[in-house]
Subunit: 270 residues, 2 copies
């Protein structure tokens, strides 16, 4: 299975441009034999929208809005899976969502950890599903979700072999002289989550306007299969075998990444 | 508060040498004005002991064995706190333990995640306590414990501002071309845990005989305050303000590292 992350500059509020850009990214991925491509968070609208009114007017129903329709068509035409962020107009509220679309399926995840002023705009998601796909179990998180190891662990325990993370990460808050090489904190959480849970992680971040890029694909050892730069638009990809996520849960004859959890000692509030 | 990690070569089975070496490390730390120094895992015996018999004969009661007695005296003489790993002979079994000793207190933690054949030798710890010290709440984990983000989270939720991690990490399993710069997986888990929980982490690892070194002290942003090399004996230290661990839980007016946990969506088995 070939997995890709499309790292590009999303334009805040410019849905027409963003849909064209996402289409180019998906076609590029398909040309390179990619089976599943991850796009950034809120890939239809961007995340800096100047309040509720423009957000509401740009929000789209799923599956019947223009973005989900376009991506479904691309998935059908190219036999490819697409994971991408969508500002969703739900039945009762706006959601910071991500869809996972294949040639013959469409499922949706709603961000379960909202960052800062997102709380004023979006309703919080209430589920952390693992989607059963022809490639195996796939989970989706959105950006700040990845800072919560419980979320990654929950998806792992529910059978995810790959976690896709559409992101819009603009800042790390780590003082410059304390950063390690070319890794953002999104990368660190991706590596730690992949290693602790022995699964693959593919995180697609935005670039431009101060967004940090460094999209990455991580393997179940915590190894970095591919890491994008900080500024340029790039399509990164890697060939992965999702069955490793199941097989490599066993670390030795006696050690197991999930079996070694000592659930009796963790806090009841966990 | 000045925190240090003493990275040195522990000799398997040679308690006399190991006690002398730990004493030199503590004196060195005291000379540099250190308030708390972290020593490696199983600093009295090493971890490669060729079976139950030599392990049992080297094991020591706590607080009345030679190692705890020596460290208590050093703590008293130098007004310093010491965290270090001890092969403990408990009332009912052997434990891979770590003590936290100050001039007027001694507490003990028993490793709650045993690696591989450690399971054949040691009994599993049943508690993840946070110790109330003059510097604030301090938690202790031992090596492989740090691969379990639930353990770090539990200590954080219980009020730890600093987590000390005595370690004997010999291998990462990450293919060489997939490693990131100078970071071991212990470092990655330390950074991710510090950042997700907004607290300090001080991990002291062994060097020599293939052990990976790279002891580190991490701040609540996930920033690396200091990182040791991979091979040499070193004392690394940093000045830390544990109150940051409480203050910096608030990320913005609306975001909070623990308050943003969405406990309703995580798995019941977590």
């Amino acid at each position: 299975m070939r997995v890709a992350c499309a790292q590009y500059a999303v334009r805040d509020g410019d849905r027409e441009y963003n849909l064209r850009r996402s289409e180019a990214a998906v076609r590029d991925a398909a040309d390179r034999g990619v089976d599943l491509v991850v796009l950034p968070e809120l890939a239809n609208t961007g995340c800096d929208l100047d309040g509720r009114e423009p957000a509401t007017s740009l929000a789209e129903p799923i599956p019947d809005g223009p973005t989900a329709r376009l991506w479904r068509k691309l998935a059908e035409d190219h036999g490819i899976c697409i994971v991408g962020g969508v500002l969703e107009r739900g039945e009762d509220a706006l959601y910071n969502s991500a869809v996972l679309i294949g040639p013959d399926f469409l499922v949706c995840y709603r961000k379960t950890h909202l960052w800062d002023r997102e709380k004023l705009l979006y309703k919080l998601g209430t589920e952390l599903p693992v989607f059963d796909t022809p490639f195996g179990g796939i989970g989706v998180l959105v950006c700040y979700d990845a800072w919560f190891p419980e979320a990654v662990r929950t998806l792992a325990l529910r059978g995810a072999g790959l976690i896709c993370i559409p992101s819009n990460l603009p800042d790390d808050w780590v003082p410059e002289n304390q950063r390690r090489g070319d890794l953002t904190m999104l990368n660190v959480h991706a590596i730690a989550g992949a290693n602790a849970n022995r699964l693959f992680v593919a995180a697609a971040n935005r670039v431009g306007d101060g967004y940090l890029g460094r999209s990455c694909i991580i393997d179940p050892t915590g190894g970095v299969l591919v890491l994008a730069g900080a500024t340029d638009e790039e399509l990164i990809f890697a060939d992965v075998d999702l069955s490793r996520a199941r097989r490599e849960k066993s670390l030795t004859d006696l050690s197991h990444a999930h079996g070694d959890r000592n659930t009796g000692v963790y806090g009841a509030t966990l």
